[in-house]
């Protein structure tokens, strides 16, 4: 018995020694690899910390009321934080962001689900698959600024007519609805690919069982695929929301830049991202701090939304 343990020990030590002989180069190399991975984590945490530090003046002055204040009156003359008489609140932008992203999600959903069903269930390869894949890839590759440019010169006149037709007061073609339409087109590729991934997670044997009972494809989709994938599709919607919340340039060009609380979906407004893009280059010390605070809130929300969405999908793929 004793002998055996000794033997084990000696093997163990010999193994340890061989590890030690692994070479200095290898140990340094492994440290370098680990270090490169950790840099990302440090940078990510650093973003939070430096946004927080720069937002402190605004957090101290406005406190939690920042989220419920509806006025946005920056003081651009003040030279220092003490003399700055700005009244700043984020509520108009929070509402603007929720309305824009919400409408965009609703508009994009039918298209995203249809595309996902086509490339995830009906045509898993072949021409139709390639066709839709290429189109969504191309749409995903178009930069935000070009969507905004196109929206401003092409979509705006069209929607202006639409708004006049709907009898909107002060119709000018810019505002929440216009931004939401462009935003919907922008997030379709993303939500379609997410939805397709979850549709493909549906076990083949479940579908085959339904087919063998004589179900048609429509019935399989309605009674097997959609119920099974519903939590995943919900996660896809949540993740798409995360994408829509932070979209900046296209929205900035189309939202109409108004800092008052929007009351209708055709009103001009500002989203959290667009007020940062528009206002951060302006003078005003307190305004800069407040915009950074808005950035911090936006980042917290998108991070939360992302964690939630990924958690649901992960749970679903583990169960499946």
């Amino acid at each position: 018995m004793l002998k055996k343990t000794n033997k084990d020990d000696s093997i163990h030590t010999r193994f340890k020694e061989s590890k030690r002989r692994f070479g200095l180069g290898d140990r340094i190399f492994k440290k370098i690899l680990l270090f490169s991975g950790l840099i990302l984590v440090v940078v990510f945490l650093g973003i939070f910390i430096s946004l927080f530090i720069s937002a402190v003046p605004s957090i101290e002055r406005y406190g939690i009321g920042f989220l419920t204040e509806t006025e946005w009156k920056p003081d651009s003359e003040a030279a220092s934080l003490e003399t700055d008489k700005s009244i700043l609140g984020a509520l108009p932008f929070i509402i603007g962001t929720l309305m824009t992203s919400g409408i965009a999600l609703l508009l994009s959903l039918p298209f995203a689900i249809s595309i996902a069903l086509l490339i995830g269930e009906y045509f898993k390869k072949g021409f139709a698959y390639q066709f839709f894949k290429t189109i969504t890839d191309l749409l995903a590759g178009i930069p935000s600024i070009i969507y905004g440019f196109f929206g401003f010169f092409v979509l705006k006149p069209i929607l202006l007519e639409f708004e006049k037709f709907m009898g909107v007061e002060y119709a000018n073609g810019l505002g929440i609805f216009t931004s939401a339409v462009i935003l919907a087109v922008m997030i379709i590729p993303y939500s379609a690919s997410l939805a397709r991934d979850v549709i493909e997670l549906v076990p083949q044997d479940l579908k085959e069982a339904a087919y063998s009972m004589g179900a048609t494809r429509f019935e399989v989709i309605r009674k097997v695929i959609i119920p099974y994938a519903s939590s995943g599709i919900l996660a896809g919607i949540i993740l798409s929301l995360g994408r829509a919340l932070g979209e900046t340039m296209a929205v900035t060009m189309l939202i109409g830049n108004s800092t008052s609380v929007p009351t209708s979906i055709f009103d001009p407004a500002q989203t959290m991202a667009s007020i940062i893009a528009n206002g951060f280059s302006e003078p005003g010390v307190m305004q800069s701090a407040a915009l950074i605070e808005i950035g911090l809130i936006l980042m917290l929300i998108t991070a939360l939304v992302n964690v939630l969405g990924r958690y649901i999908i992960k749970k679903m793929s583990v169960e499946g």
Partner: protein, 281 residues
């Protein structure tokens, strides 16, 4: 329930549903074709050699060309590549080599979250971290800010590629007594090279059109500038400034610049696919 009628009805609703989703899905072509057609029609008329090699001029002289922004975009991309690719590849290898463990999980989680950070916030961070300490906006600040956007993309694509490299290759090399670092540098990286290049090309395509990170970091410049410590212009920023500008000449130039930008991104995406096919063969 009368069987025959019932079956017919079910088959009809099956057909209707298929037709319906094909119709809805096909509508996605409309915005794509509209956007591309508009840019090609409006853009191609202003594009000629002069347009590409002249910098900005007064509007009375026609507004000039886009040479200053074109050069700016190239410089920004080079800075972003230098700052993000080597370390991104190393981090990607770290993740593919470390499948388990708390630190790897944390890094993997961060990659996901980092990709979700809105680009305008990355712009704010670039401003706070580089513009404020340096005292002025510059190409360097813009490049580093774009590198922040690219970093998680490179990590992700490298990790995915490295997972595909056969385990036997690595084991064979280690069995021959080749040190670990040499195995990675001389066996794994060359084997996965085309995948890594694909990831880098796609990453460039992603950042080339980014505007929000540049808003607060590069300032824009009407002249040709190659000094990375000075303000610089970039294609997407030019499109933003000109598109929101007052005159038709500027809008025409912005369409031309959009055409160039779209073409650039398209070529990057196609070459990425070609590289990827090569790897599969």
């Amino acid at each position: 329930m009368v069987g025959k009628n019932n079956i017919k009805r079910r088959q009809i609703s099956n057909g209707i549903f298929k037709g319906l989703i094909i119709t809805i899905a096909s509508l996605i072509i409309v915005p794509l074709v509209a956007i591309l057609a508009f840019i090609v029609i409006q853009g191609i008329s202003v594009i000629n050699w002069e347009f590409l090699v002249t910098p900005k001029q007064l509007i009375s002289k026609g507004g000039g060309g886009i040479a200053h922004s074109l050069l700016g975009t190239v410089i920004l991309i080079i800075i972003a590549l230098v700052a993000s690719v080597p370390i991104g590849i190393l981090a990607g290898i770290y993740l593919s080599e470390t499948r388990k463990g708390k630190i790897a999980y944390m890094v993997r989680m961060t990659v996901e979250l980092f990709q979700g950070v809105p680009s305008v916030i990355i712009g704010l961070v670039g401003y706070l971290w580089i513009v404020v300490p340096m005292g002025n906006k510059s190409a360097l600040a813009g490049g580093i800010t774009l590198a922040l956007m690219m970093f998680p993309l490179i990590i992700r694509s490298t990790e995915e590629t490295m997972k595909l490299v056969p385990h036997s290759l690595k084991e064979a090399s280690l069995a021959l007594g080749v040190p670990y670092y040499k195995t990675i540098l001389k066996i794994l990286i060359p084997t996965g090279m085309s995948g890594i290049v694909t990831g880098v090309l796609l990453g460039i395509g992603r950042i080339a059109g980014e505007t929000a990170p540049l808003l607060f970091t590069i300032m824009g410049n009407s002249y040709i500038n190659a000094n990375i410590f000075k303000p610089i212009d970039a294609l997407p920023l030019l499109i933003y400034n000109y598109a929101t500008g007052p005159s038709d000449e500027l809008h025409a130039i912005a369409w031309g610049a959009s055409f160039i930008l779209i073409m650039f991104i398209l070529i990057l995406n196609i070459s990425a696919r070609v590289f990827f096919r090569k790897q599969e063969m």
